[in-house]
Amino acid sequence: MKCEEIQGLILTDYADGEIGPETRPEIEEHIRICGTCRQLEEAMRRDAREPFKSVMKELPPAYIFERVKQAIASAPKDKNDILENVRALAGQIFLPFVKIPRPVVAFAAGAMVIVAIVIARPIGEIRAVDQYLGEQASFMASLDTADTNGEGMFDTYIKTGAEKFV
């Protein structure tokens, strides 16, 4: 390994014991023979690690828990809380679906739509219904057009006679 790589490890994995036992001897040997890397390792220990080791842990002041209790007791049960509850409930209900992979959900949804269409429109009736709807659409489209002078189909029938529609 080159010095740059060794120095990166001195500042991270080597110092923090995150390095494998197979790599450690190589770094230790490099530090022994390379003055620059040795100096970095010493500075690392002295300036970046030891100061933190000599600090005692502290306890929080006793009044903090009293303040926490007061804050919890005085927390308003407002609209946000209700929304939070609704969100949490929705989360519980939909959690099983969230765990299913998206392509599977999409496929299942598509299949359900196709089945719903097939059930709603029996195959034998589809053509007859389409034909009927097509005729009705043509009829409606001809209403109130230039052919009827804007008078509507019934008025035109009265004026021009039934033969127009024969």
Partner: protein, 182 residues
């Protein structure tokens, strides 16, 4: 940290304050130390610690029992402290205090000389941490003071392992540069 059972968490989530107090007692030590070192200022640390436990209480019913409870609390503590520091920096309200209060430091017997050493050590750490940005500070505190491994730091801060490495590396380069000035 004393073990916190799932049952205790469930009870606290249902509003049992005695259960919540047990959770507070088991976790407030490390929460306070993490927050104090990231915030670097005692009055902010008090306020942030309070905020952390209000958030913990409010979110207990959403704790999924899938991850470690300690990591979950560390995450709330570190993120709350980091966000506070970033907000304070934006508002230019960042301030440094060297005030290790006498009442809360664990002093063995009457060893005042040792206490003075402690005071100096705490001041040195506070000034060193000030040269780091809040993200780097959180990584250093979790690694050096809480002795968490890289994976736990990554889980706590919700960052990947290489980000943990790069933040530690840059932070330590800054700390070494600071040491050379002295």
């Amino acid at each position: 940290m004393t073990d916190i059972s799932d049952e205790l968490i469930r009870k606290a989530a249902q509003g049992d304050m005695a259960a919540f107090e047990k959770i507070y007692k088991a976790t407030s030590g490390f929460v306070y130390n993490v927050v104090l070192r990231i915030a670097s200022n005692r009055s902010d640390a008090d306020e942030i610690t309070q905020d952390v436990f209000v958030k913990v209480h409010k979110s207990l019913d959403r704790f999924g029992f899938r991850s470690s409870f300690k990591t979950w609390v560390y995450r709330i503590a570190a993120n709350t402290a980091i966000n506070h520091c970033k907000k304070a920096a934006r508002q230019d309200q960042g301030k440094v205090e060297y005030d290790p209060a006498v009442h809360d430091i664990a002093i063995p017997g009457d060893a005042m000389a040792q206490f003075d050493d402690q005071k100096l050590a705490a001041q040195k750490v506070t000034s060193l941490l000030q040269v780091l940005d809040p993200d780097q500070r959180a990584c250093i505190v979790l690694r050096e003071m809480e002795e968490l491994d890289y994976k736990t730091i990554a889980d706590t801060l919700q960052i990947n392992l290489n980000t943990v490495r790069s933040r530690l590396k840059r932070a330590r380069q800054k700390l070494i540069a600071e040491g050379r000035k002295e």
